[in-house]
């Protein structure tokens, strides 16, 4: 056994929460190590989540544009075809570049990388088992569980890695499916569904709730749904798959609606994207005394400390939105606290993005949430149809909704479905972080012609003073 190494902070998991937290801790002068059991750093996000999916979304978007929209611009593209292996290789290159980049950041900031699977011996000691069987003992004053999450399987038809797959496999299909059934109409299902739809698959989305991306402002969600339907998605809402049997490379599915009507579907691939759950397999956390909630998430207090003193947890493994940037902020906040500073995450202004086309980006309260909380509010909306830049880009589909407090005019929520929503939302997040009012946003100069002007117009519309509509 290797000699015990001593650290101030050891972070188990090198995803966005883990690696960002580790770098911050090291920058603040703490002796830091980060444990990763897979061969590359970056966790789900970099390897089998955010990055590869966005790479494919961009690639497939270009493909769709070339096939369907270039002609509008007078660009005649005959015989546009797909070379999937090249597209996949590009995605892999992007992923590799970024995961290697984290390696570089670790070296630069003097974060010790530990390879293998960690298991707690006691609150300050873990045993790391490498792939080749070698074991090492590592001790630390603080331990951070940042082991992330994994896709939730459906017990009736578990993942088989071939026909019934999770997002991981859906990022690497060797061929474009003929018919892809996506179970789950949330962000992941819609994003990956979009990739394969654009590349030529028929896509059917089966969603339990009456609408897609549940939890998002209803008007935004229905706008997206209309757009996706126009693009070729088939939606079965308020429905669930009760059975899926594989035979000869094909899957026969039984779909049941709320009214108990049944129908059959045939698909060559089924993507189960019904959510993710916290992952702590083999960590030995429960034996240590760490508490878990009913969803298997690690219970922590407001300082991210578990029930075991000196053991902390951040990211997807604890409660809260399962978003990379949320994990990153928690990693930074915890690192700062451990270094004796005051770190804080403002959960009220965490943006949420769906990378379909049009994109969806939201921050703050939806209209339904404001009503449910009985907060008197005003709403301003604006359509991208009236935005100059959007028209120039030939991407004028979408709308913006700004919700402000009826009395103080303070921004309560901003919701966008439209081109580059993921970028436009940043201004709204910044404004809300400073407690800005709708009027503040309306009175801030926005360059013309740009897409963010829609924010100004929607803000003006809150008081019915829009100048472009």
């Amino acid at each position: 056994m290797a000699e015990g190494q001593q650290f101030d902070v050891v972070i188990i998991g090198s995803g966005p929460g883990g690696y960002v937290g580790a770098i911050r801790a090291a920058q603040l002068g703490l002796r830091t190590a980060c444990v990763e059991k897979t061969s590359t750093l970056g966790g789900t996000c970099l390897n089998i989540g955010c990055i590869p999916s966005k790479a494919l979304l961009d690639s497939s978007e270009w493909f769709a544009q070339a096939r369907e929209k270039f002609s509008h611009h007078g660009i005649v593209c005959d015989g546009v075809r797909l070379d999937l292996p090249v597209m996949m290789r590009r995605k892999d290159t992007v992923v590799k570049g970024l995961t290697q980049g984290i390696d570089g950041l670790f070296k630069k900031n003097k974060v010790t990388r530990l390879r293998g699977h960690a298991r707690f011996r006691d609150p300050h000691t873990i045993e790391i088992s490498a792939a080749d069987g070698a074991k090492q003992i590592v001790q630390s004053r603080a331990m951070v569980i940042a082991t992330g999450s994994e896709p939730i399987p459906l017990p009736a038809f578990p993942f088989d890695g071939e026909q019934i797959v999770s997002s991981t496999e859906a990022l690497s299909f060797a061929e474009v499916p003929k018919h892809l059934v996506v179970i789950g109409g949330g962000a992941i299902g819609l994003e990956l569904g979009s990739v394969w739809l654009r590349l030529g698959a028929k896509v059917t989305v089966v969603e339990l709730m009456p609408r897609i991306i549940p939890g998002t402002d209803a008007q935004i969600a229905s706008t997206l749904q209309r757009s996706l339907t126009k693009q070729g998605f088939t939606f079965m809402l308020g429905a669930r798959v009760t059975q899926a049997t594989t035979h000869n490379g094909e899957v026969a599915l039984t779909v049941e609606t709320e009214k108990k009507q049944q129908s059959e579907l045939r698909a060559d691939r089924v993507l189960v994207a019904v959510g993710r759950k916290a992952y702590t397999v083999g960590l030995g956390a429960a034996e240590l005394g760490v508490a878990f909630d009913e969803r298997g998430r690690v219970v922590v207090d407001e300082h991210y400390q578990t029930k075991v003193a000196g053991v902390y947890a951040i990211g997807d493994v604890i409660a809260g939105p399962m978003l990379a940037h949320k994990a990153e902020e928690e990693g930074v906040a915890l690192a700062e606290r451990l270094a004796g500073q005051a770190g804080h995450v403002n959960y009220a202004v965490i943006p949420n993005v769906v990378y379909t086309w049009p994109e969806v980006a939201t921050v703050g309260l939806s209209e339904e949430a404001a009503k449910a909380a009985e907060i008197p509010h005003k709403v301003g909306t604006f359509s991208f149809l009236a935005n100059g830049r959007a028209r120039c880009m030939d991407e004028a589909e979408g709308l913006v909704k700004v919700i402000a407090d009826a009395k103080s005019d303070r921004l309560l929520g901003v919701h966008i479905v439209g081109p580059r929503a993921s970028d436009i939302i940043a201004e709204a997040v910044m404004a809300m972080e400073f407690g800005a009012s709708a009027e503040d946003m309306a009175r801030t100069v926005h360059a013309h012609p740009t897409l963010p002007e829609v924010l100004r117009e929607a803000a003006l519309n809150v008081d019915r003073r829009s100048r472009q509509s």
């Binding site: 407001e302 300082h303 606290r337 451990l338 004796g340 500073q341 005051a342 804080h344 407090d405 009395k407 103080s408 005019d409 303070r410 972080e433 400073f434 407690g435 800005a436 009012s437 009027e439 503040d440 309306a442 009175r443 801030t444």
Partner: protein
């Protein structure tokens, strides 16, 4: 050489105060006599002004902290404001400690730029950002803060004038003074017609009056006893001696001084009316500092004449004239408005015949004087009807420590002394 900002004497029974709100942040420029901090005592909220122009270089006591009379709470460095790297404020005491998880908001080191909506509102309503409470990040003002402020709108207070206003008898509507509103220019209604309603936010002073009126009503058991005074003797005294009085002393002989002296006589005999409830104790005072209500544009102010028992009529009149003048022009000091043991208010100057004065906390008695009106009264050994100049007087008292009997007798004593001033001379 830095100039200290100290807590001045705040009145006789006041030994400490609490810092309510700093209106300037460390490093901010201040003008001479500009209000920099609000402090609160049991009796009132006061504003302290910068003794010199310069920069508020040090804040030694933060909001919510208790301070003693004479304590230095800040310093001003005379000269130009340093806006580049102002000294960090010491107001925020929750500094981060090792592993402390206190959520520290960035201390506002220099006034943060105003957001566009705030700028507009400030300009439209001629507001002073420093006077508004900021709840935004880093000490910034949000639009909501300004809107909230407008609802409880401030008008610029008179220089160094405190907000210790004493309400008194119910004044006729036209005598009740509202502060002149500071409004932006409003476009007239499109059809030129007068709007049916007009909204005016309460001034700070008005709010304070309202607050204290309710407070005293809620604590004391206020009752009023009435009597009437035949003013013939007093009028005769004045007719006979006023010229000589004016020549000797430079002030006219008014009725207020006579009533003041008469009150002292009565209060000596019935000390509960000159006392104060403090906690579970009654504090009986052996000195007689009488507050005399004066109507000003801002509302009723009650300057206090100290130790009336030791002063002559002339001294009382002279002091009254001087204090009234300064009260009306807004030049009266905080200390001159606090610490009274009993109050006299004259609604008669406005024409009031009778009224029920409200107590001036923490006092337990108040005398209301009214209009002198010629009335037929029955007098003489043969029950004749004669015309006499009569004044109704009212004595409101705190029934918690003053019996009905005491109050009635006290008022009677005042009446006796005014109807026959010789009694005061003879001690009868």
């Amino acid at each position: 050489m830095a100039v200290d900002i100290t807590i001045p004497a705040l009145g006789e029974s006041i030994t400490e105060a609490t810092i309510l709100r700093w209106l300037k942040t460390a490093g901010e420029a201040v003008e001479r006599d500009e209000i920099v901090v609000e402090i609160e005592t049991d009796k009132a909220t006061m504003e302290l002004a910068a003794p010199e122009a310069g920069v508020l270089s040090e804040i030694l006591k933060g909001e919510g902290e208790k301070v003693q009379i004479g304590e230095i709470i800040g310093r001003i460095a005379p000269g130009m404001a340093n806006t580049v790297r102002p000294a960090p404020t010491q107001i925020l005491t929750n500094g981060p400690t090792a592993n402390a998880a206190s959520r520290v908001t960035q201390p506002a080191e220099a006034p943060a730029p105003l957001s566009p909506a705030v700028r507009r509102l400030v300009e439209e309503h001629a507001l002073n950002p420093a006077e508004m409470t900021a709840t935004g990040r880093g000490g910034r003002l949000t639009k909501g803060d300004v809107l909230e402020h407008l609802e409880t709108k401030e008008k610029p207070a008179p220089v160094s004038s405190p907000v210790d206003v004493r309400p008194s008898t119910a004044l006729p509507a036209d005598a009740r003074s509202a502060p002149p509103p500071a409004q932006p220019i409003k476009l007239p209604a499109s059809d030129g017609a007068e709007p049916r309603e007009r909204r005016e936010p309460m001034s700070r002073i008005r709010r304070r009056i309202a607050e204290r009126l309710k407070q005293v009503q809620n604590t004391a058991a206020i009752l009023t006893t009435f009597n009437e005074v035949d003013m013939s003797a007093a009028l005769a005294l004045r007719a006979k001696y006023n010229d000589a009085f004016k020549e000797r002393y430079g002030v006219s002989l008014g009725f207020m001084s006579i009533f003041a002296k008469a009150s002292v006589e009565a209060l000596r005999a019935f000390p509960a009316l000159n006392a104060e409830i403090r906690g579970e104790d009654i504090i009986y005072k052996n000195y007689y500092d009488l507050g005399i209500a004066v109507g000003t544009e801002q509302g009723l102010l009650v300057p206090v004449i100290r130790e009336v028992e030791k002063k002559s009529l002339a001294q009382i009149e002279a002091e009254l004239a001087e204090l009234s003048q300064r009260a009306r022009t807004g030049k009266i000091k905080v200390e001159e408005l606090t610490g009274g043991t009993f109050t006299i208010s004259n609604g008669g100057v406005y024409g009031s015949l009778m009224s029920t004065p409200i107590l001036n906390p923490p006092q337990s008695g108040i005398l209301g004087m009214h209009k002198i009106e010629k009335r037929p009264v029955v007098a003489g050994p043969n029950d004749e009807i004669v015309v006499r100049p009569m004044m109704y007087v009212a004595l409101s008292y705190d029934h918690r420590i003053v019996d009905g009997r005491e109050a009635v007798l006290c008022l009677r004593r005042i009446k006796e002394c005014v109807e026959d001033p010789a009694r005061m001379l003879l001690g009868l």
